[in-house]
Symmetry: D2
Subunit: 397 residues, 4 copies
């Protein structure tokens, strides 16, 4: 009796050929599973393609709301930017997709789970570590890594095996997109000196747009409203993607360090992510105490690396999130973002819990700060260095 | 016989009144010392004003080149942004000004050094810690902190004592500027919800501009050329301030955490700093090994906090710089910056020492990466979490 | 009408003289408050001395159990050792004493709180920051810092004002002790090259002792039993102080960095703390996943510095504790400690949640580890350095 | 024509069988290379055994002095303890052995390098990453990992192929030793609840001993003398191993986290390492400024993890060492260590560059510290928390 595998199915070339290959070369019955993380594709059509390619069952799972509330919200709270720049677009979707692959596998009593990642990227790490952690009893298959085809070979194998291949041999880009952003790689961008082609963008196509500013409301570190209108996070992100994207905001062009030891050139579009992370940080500026704020920046960097590396389901991520949740309990308030073509600024922030104290900060007569306390403070604060200078005399440039 | 004090003299209201106050109230002979860190003021005129206000001697010290090479260059190499955003405009100038105040004091055998800072800001800390570390034998005076006048009182004292006061009572802003940027505070900005007034900017006044892109060359982490033309760093910064400023690039609006325990709203203009720090980081992306790159980001944050807090002359800063110098030995190459109104992107970077390896990174047939090694890698990489899941079963969200 | 102050009263020279001084020099009515944190003194007698010295009211507050459960337990969970060595003996007692001083002040409607610390130590920082944070409306007085007496002057002032002074002018040591340990400073130890005198110890006086080993049980990172017998933490610590102290275990001789910029020689005795922190760490070794364990060590150091610096009541300490609590949810099990004169080892640890996996770790035939996966792992793990070597060729020593 | 491999040869069972196996199964000509890192074995005899087992060439390389000066000295300077406890005994020897394997391979024009490590330990990572980084052109072979024999199989293969096997089937321990310590694993210790057998120790066999104290001199963070007698570091370590070992000092019993995702029980003996690291730290206590000292502790932990993980030859280790070298420039002075059975204390430390300042630290009348400065210091230092308490009111336990 044939074993069953649940395949993460996107409808693209690689997973379509994988769907066939698992049947032909490995003798599996395949359950295709397509997870809607906001990639803006017609998953009904994707489902039909799966069945046409021989899937025994084709599941479509809608998780946009869960993705926003359980994954993106934590990333915002943590202020997560890998290498201080990448808002973890694909890194965040892999663990939730893995979770649902495992759920489908358990529902149908499947023996294995398969993904369509190659052997040189991060996503294989994210999928496999997540799946093995969630379900150590399931086998994990990686057909694309195993067959080792170049792109042309994949097309040829697909054509030879009756896969409906609508891949354009001339389209050289590899794309992954979801609610939180869009990643584009390959083609001429593989030379990091080349400018990205102007026609690759989809989330950030500038056109004159209104409104020119928006007020974002946060509750405990999570966005909850736009211009005073409360809405679910996934919807808020969708709207903000449209607004900020229309100004061309949120393009990121970088060479990043993959977990597997190689550098890769990546271009991202993440309009809502870019704006929300900056707005969140500005709200933290008025609500977090200094030492907490500084430590949170460092732990946020570590959080981002951990999740980038595929370690979402890990006790360290959970402990970091306990820190972040406690820290974020006061990050409630509003931030005003002002857009202009190609750029935006936060030019206002306020909170009922603000630690900004006009009476202390002002240089006007309202001033309540005791200037003379500062004299003692500065002397003691510098005392260790004064001793250092006297004793070791190594003061340099 | 009267004691002598060297006063850091800017020519503004506070230090002009201080110059008089130190004579009248404290009986000092005053040596005014004005240090040119690129603040674009006529220091000849400032010097004349000092003498007119009773300074026994008025020194003008030109340090732009030293400021760029010994202070700003280290900040670029460290990637220094306080709280991930502020490029340390005033923080960097205080230690070099302190150094020259001490030199002047020693040259003339003065007894004390004085600065014009209030008791609630960071600059008093920077000046006093630096001066006491460089010259524990000198007394440090802080007339503005000591007299405790509000702005109006200062003007009145000045008028009453024959100080040539050209302060505009209506101008509510406090400004500090140098080669590396410009800081504006006070006025209506003291409410962090208010947008900054549109007329406060000087370094970032947008007007249609050429060129629309520039290639910045770096050697060991320090900028050395623009579009292939080598030039001293202070000149390179001056030119880039003009170019990037003409696109309105480099405005920063934030609430920051001062060392003395209060939050303050600050608006900065730092066109060259903003562009150079991003370009430098992008060059690091292709030249620094992953673990080094990640650690350097964390130490760069600590470097920035240390210098922000006034601890430039300290053994920790020196040890950090030894780390940064060693790490930066390979950060040599070129970065292309493309400007548009209100924004810019780095869209190309290259280096003879680049660790980006096309053969490893590409998905085309040139690929030399062994995809199957990855299978073993991922299994071992996730082994600890697999055990965790089996034994502790605490996998969450 | 006289204002009222609550004085932290230990019964020693400084606070006895302070009790009088506050009445005589400042005109306060004084409420003496003695907090029992396990210092093993007769507080009934202390109370009587307070009343004899003019206290209007003398309160004795018993907090040993709260001290153990709310303060020491968190320190154990965090693995807190300041500068990797000092178990925070006095640092932990100051915040709980401050809390009860504030409670007493509020109960009696007092106007101020006073402590007996000098101006050069850490304890003034701990008391004042805690009190101002807990009760910004209360004034804080520091008579010992304010009067600036040397020890002899204090004795003279006391004698002259009818204070019952039983201080031995020849006893040069300053001592603070509680449940968690004992601190001894001053005298000939002020030269860090001198050995501590042999007669200064009280908690660690070696004498042949049974038992020679003990099994300590932990639940979620907190000690709960000795040799299988469950008991409250404060009692467990008391017993372990006796056992380990009888072997001479727990002496710490160090020069530490105070918050106020000076170095001081300190000798501590902390038998239970030394044993419990090591036992706890050993239990973590088998229950914490690697990345979590490593991060927790770094945050534990930061926790210790924060608390040492007097910042117990702070949002960063609370966020760290949320991290520690989540991380510690699996730190349950038993540790066997074996004593010998002057030393001890942990030579056994076990847990129902242990991540130690015999099948994976053994070199015997039971081995289930796939050795060949390791080949791929090592190649990918070192790939970045291989590229570094090829491209940058900077391999050194 | 046969290819040539350089085998790291210890003379033990595994590498003796590997020597034969590489000839028989792989057709290599084998050059045996035995590196003397202070393992106290007769390498002349080891060399003879290599030749008797078919080695074409057998090299013995004496590197004790280089090992001490270039590797151990850096570990001491960094204060390196993996997981705050393990002084990196084997971790430090692997990179120097790798370096000499590569040198021998290049001298003889060999094609490959081989080591005798299994697939589940750290040493395979350390050897292979080091060798590939030092010589990307050389193949790396891991016969023991490849053949996958259990211990009994190895013995049988050896006997069947004429290898002189003097392994005792009953001796269940795996041992690695060098100048810096000795590691013992396996046998009944594979259950972490079992006490180590009493007969496994060699470096720490207690017997009444003189002297009972020793003064260790350091220069820039590196030990240079014992009781005033200057000597090379490797000799100093050898002597101190004898002295401290005779008191039974330096036993470490722990469960550690290997790089390959498993936990293992390890017992170490490291008398000199234990004493020198503590003495070094105590000297740092009086010579390093506070902020530098605290940062150095954190970076030292990271240094230790990096080297434990096999990343000695890496740009991050080099940058860390630049930090450590700069920081250590003042760590010069003397430390007195006092031994007792099973334990030792540092009870004196002094330095011409000491930052300990009697005038500041003393409570006697010599006191020069201005106690009143402290009042202002404490107020400003706690100001942020006071504001936090007033505005957010979240003060807890």
């Amino acid at each position: 009796m044939a074993k069953t595998v649940v395949l993460a199915y996107s409808g693209g070339l690689d997973t379509s050929v994988a769907l066939k290959w698992l049947q032909v070369e490995k003798g599996y019955e395949v359950i295709a599973c397509s997870v809607d993380v906001g990639q803006q594709e017609d998953l009904t059509e994707v489902r039909a393609r799966a069945l046409a390619t021989g899937a025994k069952i084709a599941e479509v799972v809608e998780v946009q709301e869960e993705f926003a509330n359980e994954f993106i919200a934590r990333a915002i709270r943590a202020g997560a930017l890998y290498e201080n720049r990448y808002p973890l677009v694909s890194s965040l979707s892999r663990p939730i997709i893995s979770k649902h692959l495992v759920e489908v596998a358990r529902r149908y009593g499947a023996d294995a789970v398969a993904h369509g990642c190659t052997g040189k990227g991060n996503d294989q790490v994210r999928f496999e570590v997540a799946i093995r952690t969630l379900a150590p009893e399931l086998e994990v298959l990686a057909p694309v890594r195993e067959w080792g085809f170049a792109r042309e070979d994949t097309i040829d194998y697909g054509l030879a095996n009756g896969v409906q291949v609508n891949a354009n041999r001339a389209n050289p880009y590899s794309i992954d997109q979801n609610l939180w952003g869009r990643a584009i790689e390959c083609g001429e961008m593989e030379d990091p000196w080349n400018s990205p082609p102007s026609d690759i963008y989809a989330y950030t196509v500038p056109h004159g747009s209104v409104p020119d500013s928006v007020v974002i409301g946060f509750n405990k570190g999570v966005p909850v409203s736009l211009d005073g209108e409360e809405m679910p996070l996934y919807l808020l992100i969708t709207r903000l993607n449209a607004i900020a994207g229309s100004y061309g905001i949120g393009r990121i062009d970088m060479v990043e360090n993959r977990r597997v030891g190689i550098k890769s050139r990546e271009v991202y579009e993440a309009p809502a992510a870019t704006v929300l992370l900056e707005a969140h940080r500005q709200l933290e500026d008025i609500t977090l105490e200094r030492e907490l704020a500084h430590t949170k920046i460092e732990l946020g960097l570590q959080w981002a690396t951990l999740v980038y590396d595929g370690l979402w389901y890990s006790p360290l991520r959970m402990a970091f999130d306990a820190f972040m949740e406690e820290a974020s309990s006061v990050v409630t308030g509003e931030v005003r973002v002002r857009f202009s073509p190609n750029g935006f600024v936060v030019d206002g922030r306020r909170s009922p819990l603000s630690l900004y104290d006009y009476e202390l900060a002002t240089y006007a007569r309202a001033d309540t700060f005791n200037h003379l306390d500062a004299e003692g403070f500065v002397k003691i604060f510098g005392l260790g260095l004064e001793t250092w200078s006297k004793r070791q005399g190594r003061v340099q440039p």
